[in-house]
């Protein structure tokens, strides 16, 4: 019995392969986009864990020389003799073959056990110091490492971050030509006393951990996940629509099967099993497709994370069962949810009830009102959430409520608009057209909801990115005022460089700072010299009169927007810069891309208040002839890698920016594609049921060609109205992203700009998607033989 019943149920798909393809493709696309995002997130998180595990180095306090420079080996030896538990580290970049690699030298004898890279054995550690020139290398640079001079053996270690090799400190010192200094010391146990007494001039820095990195990047991943879920929701509209239609169309079959002796429970169980099997097949294909999409998107995401947070994520993807299973589970859950209402309807269907498909009945006035009310309630929840708190979670609750609420309200809004248009219509064809469009809109409501979400997401994200780009470009132009940026290798060289530049440059602006706890969190205080460059170019969001004069006089400080927002401080309030040091805030400046709080004071004051803690070997150099000065600096002995022209930094920053948003742009386009597909499947699956509605009009004298054109017009009209309704929704989405999510995630707010040119492009894309989707059923109608249209009359007998 089971086999016969199952084969009968499945025969529906054989007769309606297009419907099956729509269902599977919808689910594949939804799962693919979601899985891709999950795969990217999983890869990035694994990289943070790897970075965190690497040598345990990030978790240990670090001791560096004056100005952040190297530590002489004698000082290291003296500290060891004084009982300081320190271990030396030499690090630097070098060219190995065609690759630029990062070399880390450690001393396995003094390093604690957990400092070895994850996955390295104890014998690896012993071999490192055995005298043989052994290095441990990340797989991507293992070959390059073999080309290094004097290296006898290279062992690949997958747990190392990409581009990194680890060697014994003596090997690293030789390869990096480090002389008698080490880059820094790591404190592996409790300090036996004040560092100032044991080694005056050295600087002890707090640890930074991979966990910090994970926290920093959480908001970025949350954004990606939200986009993935949105794409999944859009895909589910396709699945829900197709499944509902399939269930509706099989009502007659189910009634017959039951009349012939198939128990209802068995029938429903079989249909549920069929649904889950389809979900499994499509989910697995979606996960595979997601892997491919993630592989394409990952390099951009890796660049984003590197540019924004300095997080190293490999550009290649590893298969991790976690996200794959997650994708499958979501596909199963989503399909079950989509099938639930259809199955419930079948379960309630009396055996002897007429089994006419009710798709066109769906969304009667009462149901539309209830649905719209539920949508309104969801939107209200979103508004309440954002009123209550400006947290990241509140932002996402607002976005969720807004988007889902609007989607639920859409069918009622469309019905109202079309009813209004019908009242204004003159002539029988126009009246029929609007009435029929209203009927069609009900059948297509799920597809239109998907389109609404996709257009709103695209408007919102493009507005956010456009606003960000405009603000960021302007900010860069102002902030990067110096024509050249140079960096010395040591404090002594910095002094020499500054003296050399005097008289050759219009102005020399030291870039120096000290670590500090600001507003209860780690941050930095930068010191600036009094120069017109700052007054003329440094953008201030809020300030008091004479802010720069007061800063130069050491009477006030400027703070970045992140610090001001986090601490709730505004202009005029005192900001604590240390346990016994505070200054009034003279101004607040924007500081895009910086996750930490920062304050700015006069350099002289900073050096006076924090002697020995000020680091920084870079200078901004104002000059009318940057090319000539750069050439002279090379003659001075500064290698080209330490001289950067302003436009290079700008170009690099903008490149990072574009890559940052390449991912959201790609996801936006894919989501719109899925929505276009939703319209196509909606129209195709309803095309057969449309014939009985169109046949009488055809019989009354409206030709097939005209009917087909009206079908195209109808699809474009519905998409156009949906687009217009999606615009304010998209702008609300952009506002939430800029004013709530961005502030909560990054600590700064962007002004919102609107870009009508982009809307036109999006409108054209939307109409094109709708027209392409409508073209196939319209062509079918145009070429339908009269006998087919007449057959609908005999079927009504």
């Amino acid at each position: 019995m089971i086999r016969a019943a199952l084969l009968t149920l499945l025969s529906h798909w054989r007769r309606h392969p297009g419907q099956l393809a729509a269902l599977l493709l919808g689910l594949v696309m939804a799962t693919a986009l979601f899985s891709a995002v999950q795969a990217i997130n999983a890869e990035a998180r694994a990289s943070y864990a790897s970075a965190s595990a690497r040598l345990g180095a990030g978790a240990l306090p670090s001791i560096s020389g004056p100005g952040g420079g190297p530590v002489p080996v004698e000082t290291y030896a003296a500290l060891r003799r004084a009982g300081w538990p320190v271990t030396p580290v030499i690090e630097g970049a070098l060219q190995a073959g065609d690759e630029r690699v990062r070399l880390l030298g450690i001393e396995p004898l003094t390093a604690p056990g957990d400092m070895l890279p994850a996955g390295a054995t104890e014998s690896d550690g012993l071999d490192l110091i055995s005298g043989a020139s052994l290095v441990l290398a990340a797989p991507d640079v293992a070959d390059a490492a073999r080309s290094l001079s004097g290296i006898d053996e290279v062992r690949e270690l997958g747990s190392l971050p990409p581009g990194e090799i680890v060697a014994d400190i003596s090997v690293a010192a030789r390869l990096l030509d480090a002389g008698t200094s080490v880059s820094r010391l790591l404190l592996t146990g409790p300090a036996p006393g004040p560092l100032g007494e044991a080694a005056p001039g050295l600087i002890l820095s707090r640890p930074t951990t991979g966990d910090d990195l994970a926290r920093l990047t959480d908001s970025f991943h949350l954004n990606l996940t939200a986009f993935g879920l949105l794409a999944f929701a859009v895909g589910l509209f396709i699945v829900h629509g197709t499944l509902s239609l399939a269930f509706e169309q099989r009502r007659a079959m189910l009634r017959t099967l039951r009349a012939l002796g198939l128990p209802l429970r068995t029938a429903l169980t079989l249909m549920l099993a069929e649904t889950l099997a389809l979900a499994l097949v499509a989910g697995a294909s979606g996960v595979a497709a997601g892997y491919l999409v993630a592989g394409v998107l990952l390099p951009d995401v890796a660049a984003t994370l590197g540019g924004l947070y300095g997080a190293e994520v490999p550009g290649t993807l590893a298969f991790r069962p976690g996200w794959a299973l997650g994708g499958l589970a979501l596909a199963g859950l989503g399909t079950s949810l989509a099938a639930a209402s259809g199955l419930a309807g079948l379960a309630r269907m009396p055996l002897l009830q007429g089994a006419v498909p009710r798709a066109w009945v769906r969304g009667g006035t009462g149901a539309l009102a209830v649905q719209a009310a539920a949508g309104g309630l969801l939107m209200l929840c979103g508004f309440v959430a954002v009123q209550w708190g400006q947290s990241l979670m509140a932002g996402f609750v607002f976005l969720g409520g807004l988007l889902l609420g609007a989607a639920l309200i859409l069918p009622a809004a469309l019905a109202l608009i079309l009813a209004g248009a019908r009242r204004l219509a003159r002539g029988p064809v126009a009246e029929w057209f609007w009435a029929d469009t209203g009927l069609q809109a009900r059948g297509l409501s799920l597809a239109m909801m998907a389109l609404l979400l996709a257009v709103a997401a695209n408007v919102g994200v493009s507005t956010m990115v456009g606003s960000f780009r405009q603000t960021f470009t302007g900010w860069l132009d102002q902030r990067l005022a110096a024509e050249l940026y140079v960096e010395a290798e040591t404090g002594a060289e910095a002094t020499r460089l500054a003296a050399w530049l005097e008289g050759r440059a219009d102005a020399v602006l030291p870039i120096r700072s000290a670590e500090a706890v600001l507003g209860g969190a780690p941050g930095a205080i930068s010191g600036v010299v009094d120069d017109p460059t700052y007054r003329e170019n440094w953008p201030l969001l809020a300030d008091t009169p004479g802010a720069w004069d007061r800063l130069a006089a050491g009477e006030a400080a400027l703070v970045n927007e992140q610090l001001a927002r986090r601490t709730g401080l505004s202009v005029g309030d005192p900001v604590a810069l240390g346990s016994d040091w505070s200054l009034p805030i003279a101004g607040i400046y924007s500081d895009y891309g910086n996750p930490s709080g920062e304050a700015m004071v006069s350099l002289a004051l900073l050096e006076a208040r924090r002697p020995g803690a000020v680091t920084g070997l870079r200078f901004g150099v104002r000059t009318a002839e940057p090319e000539a000065l750069a050439a002279a600096l090379r003659e001075f002995g500064l290698p080209p890698s330490r001289i950067t022209r302003q436009e290079e930094i700008k170009a690099a920053s903008l490149r990072i920016f574009e890559r940052t948003f390449a991912v959201t742009g790609a996801l936006g386009v894919l989501t719109l594609g899925v929505a276009g597909f939703a319209i196509l499947t909606g129209l195709l699956t309803l095309a057969t049921m449309r014939l009985p509605q169109l046949a009488p009009v055809w019989a009354l004298g409206l030709g097939r060609r005209r009917l087909a054109i009206l079908e195209l017009l109808r699809a474009a009209l519905l998409a156009g109205i949906t687009f217009v309704l999606a615009l304010p929704l998209g702008l609300a989405l952009a506002w939430a992203l800029l004013a709530v999510v961005n502030v909560a995630a990054f600590g700064w707010r962007l002004p919102m700009d609107i870009f009508p040119g982009q809307w036109l492009w999006l409108l054209a894309s939307t109409l094109a998607a709708a027209l392409i989707a409508a073209a196939i059923p319209a062509r079918k109608l145009w070429t339908a033989p009269p006998a087919r249209l007449l057959a609908t009359f005999s079927a009504e007998r």
């Binding site: 016969a4 007769r15 002796g261 429970r265």
Partner: protein
Amino acid sequence: MLIEANQIEKSFGTGEARRTVLSGVSLSLAPGETLALTGESGSGKSTLLNILGALEPADGGDLRIAGTDLAGLGDTARARLRRDRIGLVFQQFNLVPSLTVAGNLSLQARLAGRQDTEWERHLAGRLGLTDHLTRYPDQLSGGQQQRVAIGRALASRPALVLADEPTGNLDEETADRVMTLLTDLAAESGSGLVMATHSERHAARLARRAHLTLGQLR
């Protein structure tokens, strides 16, 4: 007896809208016997057939079909009774549109787990469907569809065939042919037959006749 129905009652609606459709209907049918059920539209013929076919329960009275007492039977037990003992022929054919003629013919027999391909082939031949076995219902005429429905009802050699105005949608000539096939094949398979019809001519071809008027048998 194949059918033992005593004092069957059935009403629809509630309160003032309550309408009695069957009132104290009693009838019996021996194995292999044929019975024509006649009456005006709305007299309760379809309702009685639905109750006899275990498609819906009676409000009162006793009913045994092929020895099974229907009182208190749940959905699954009723489904099993229909599947194993009863063949149904509907006025609207109710074929599964996504199955071929062959698939529709064998559907109930396969559900019951006793497919007899020889018998099906014989039925297809007798019903004139041999050349149409790979076609789908929407590619057949009304008469052909009804012949498929008759074949489906008889393919599992049920003890009882219930036919609700099986010729109601057919022209006279086609209806006569379908009627002949139905009675002949029911006799061949040894099934009892109860057929609701408006046609005196068709009713006269069955062994017995029962006339329903205002929910009561005359």
